[in-house]
């Protein structure tokens, strides 16, 4: 039985992206956030409003953070394939442009889900227990999937638009910083924030993922989390469309 082209591309993406260096960055970095921040900021846990344990508060945040990492994987894969001539090579092979694009998107989702699962495992080692209910895990990993597609599409869109790898990397670093720290990944939305930051928090799609994952993780889901998820789904669809259009129009031919 022939394996579908998209799955072959996904397998290839995983094979060429799972060197130790990449894995350290993809999983090790969020893991370190969880350990260092989780214990380091314990003293401010009461201010964070997460009961007695900042680590418990941070775990769903760091799981959500994986969607941004997954997005950067997607964008970087497209750039790497362009830079090393594999994009044109694959598109002169038995694949269509759309199959290549879906291959990257699916790889991003897998990285997002795998990263979140690893973080859940790390949290289990640190806390001794994590939620295991099917519905809870369904909401958590469903939100991670939607978030991974959104950030994958966003990074692919940027990747298809910018003309140099340096520009792409700079945008990516800036975006990771702003998206992560202007979200509820590390701390809750507090009333004391300046209005600009408050708006930034509230329109940040990572906040929607983080709130939904945290709500499911701690059993405190609210209707607001549901509304935010609907907004995220719409945004995901828009960026998926924009990314596909930009990528389909971009020049893939080799020099």
């Amino acid at each position: 039985m022939q394996v579908p082209n998209v799955l072959r591309l996904v397998y290839r993406n995983i094979l060429v992206n799972t060197d130790p260096g990449s894995l350290i960055i993809l999983i090790g970095l969020p893991g370190m956030y969880l350990v260092f921040f989780g214990f380091g900021f314990q003293s401010v846990s009461s201010a964070a409003g997460a009961g007695n344990s900042y680590l418990t508060y941070l775990t769903p945040g760091i799981m959500s953070f994986q969607v941004v990492m997954a997005g950067t994987v997607g964008g970087s894969m497209l750039w790497a394939d362009r830079r090393w001539g594999m994009l044109s090579q694959l598109l002169m092979g038995p694949f269509t442009r759309l199959q290549y694009l879906f291959g990257i998107m699916l790889t991003s989702i897998l990285f997002g889900l795998a990263g979140a699962l690893v973080m859940l495992g790390v949290a289990y080692l640190l806390l001794g227990s994590v939620p295991t209910g099917l519905l809870t895990l369904g909401v958590i990993f469903g939100s991670i999937t939607v978030g991974s597609i959104f950030f994958g599409a966003l990074m692919l869109y940027i990747s298809a638009l910018v003309k140099s790898n340096t520009a792409y990397n700079s945008i990516q670093i800036l975006l990771i910083f702003v998206v992560n720290f202007a979200s509820t990944v590390f701390y809750p939305l507090s009333s004391g924030l300046p209005i600009v930051l408050k708006v930034l928090f509230q329109v940040n799609p990572l906040t929607y993922v983080s709130d939904a994952v945290r709500g499911a993780y701690s059993g405190t889901l609210t209707p607001t989390d549901g509304y935010q998820m609907i907004v995220l789904l719409v945004e995901m669809a828009v960026f998926l469309f924009l990314a596909t259009r930009a990528y389909m129009r971009s020049d893939v031919s080799y020099e």
């Binding site: 397998y11 290839r12 790497a80 090393w84 594999m86 090579q89 038995p94």
Partner: protein, 332 residues
């Protein structure tokens, strides 16, 4: 030697057209045409060469045939299909070694394995082919090294070897020997020849005319997006009949004036292409040309540093077709 028939499904037939291009035009910027009315046919089982200097339009033509770009106008059929509509079907039956570097960010061995997997080659067969190709292209010692860590020539070898991992009917080679040493160049050309004997059709671009002479059955000289000449290699070499080539270098004096007067005296049937103090003279009467050169050099006190009379090569055909990068003083 690769002992797997890569093209077992194909049979050699001189009349079966594999690529048919009619009046192809392509512009990247709507101002200048990279392809400007190109027409040709490639038959099954032949090695078709596209010769031209850098920027002549060779790679654009390859990109069009491999479905990477769609020509602005004209008709193109590859394996009887239209690249604009049947791109994926065509790509399943072709192999491409592109001009630029292309490799996955992993080891040499894994590059071949991944490529085999992408093309759906069963695992055992993929391993067998990988071992043969690593050995054939001298990559065994560097199989565990990352592709981006190896030299340019080694990368090229990986790229070429990788393409032989899968079966194909047509192989497009866009300047595949750039960066290869003499031995590897010959290994590559012989591998291609071997596959051609098994029925593979090859479209081969190069600006190395020795390679074209060694490998190609027919060739087209392309320049500024136009095909200038197209014929079998033998016919191209015979293109100028009994003409011979005289290479001449003047050591002193006004070489430009000397060659200008010489060109006038030799008249019709002779082409003098000048580059600095040297000229390549293509003539059907070498005896007369030599006597004129001797006479003129005495009259002008010009010292001849180098004088050589030889048969035409493919290189002369090429230089005559596209000019020498120098000034052509007369037309045949």
């Amino acid at each position: 030697m690769i002992d797997h028939p890569l093209t077992a499904t194909t049979t050699r037939s001189g009349s079966d057209p594999v690529v048919v291009a009619e009046n192809l035009r392509h512009s990247y910027d709507r101002r200048r045409f990279a392809l400007d009315g190109v027409s040709f046919t490639v038959h099954r089982g032949e090695v078709f060469g596209l010769l031209g200097r850098n920027g002549a339009g060779k790679s654009t033509l390859i990109k069009a045939m491999t479905t990477l770009i769609h020509p602005t106008s004209g008709t193109l059929r590859v394996l009887g299909m239209d690249p604009a509509h049947d791109g994926q079907k065509i790509r399943r039956k072709i192999g491409v070694v592109q001009q630029g570097e292309s490799f996955d960010f992993t080891t040499v061995q894994r590059n071949l394995d991944v490529y085999g997997m992408l093309w759906g080659i069963p695992k055992a067969e993929s391993r067998r082919r990988r071992e043969l190709l690593l050995s054939k292209f001298g990559l065994t010692d560097i199989r565990k090294r990352r592709a981006f860590d190896i030299s340019g020539g080694q990368k090229r070898r990986v790229q070429v070897a990788r393409e032989f991992m899968h079966d194909m009917e047509v192989l497009f080679l866009d300047e595949p020997t750039v960066g290869l040493d003499v031995i590897m160049r010959r290994t590559l050309l012989d591998s291609v020849r071997e596959e051609v004997r098994r029925g593979l059709t090859v479209v081969f671009t190069t600006h190395n005319l020795e390679e074209a002479d060694y490998l190609c059955d027919r060739a087209a000289v392309i320049d500024e997006g136009k095909i200038l000449v197209l014929d079998s290699i033998e016919n191209l070499k015979r293109l100028y009949g009994g003409k011979k080539t005289i290479d001449l270098t003047v050591a002193n004096g006004d070489a430009t004036r000397f060659f200008s007067i010489l060109s006038e005296r030799l008249g019709a049937g002779t082409t003098v292409t000048v580059s600095g103090s040297s000229a390549v003279i293509l003539t059907d009467d070498p005896k007369r040309a030599l006597s004129q050169i001797a006479e003129l050099s005495q009259a002008h006190g010009a010292q001849l540093e180098w004088l050589n009379v030889r048969k035409n090569t493919l290189e002369d055909v090429f230089l005559h077709s596209v000019g020498h990068g120098g000034e052509s003083l007369a037309s045949a």
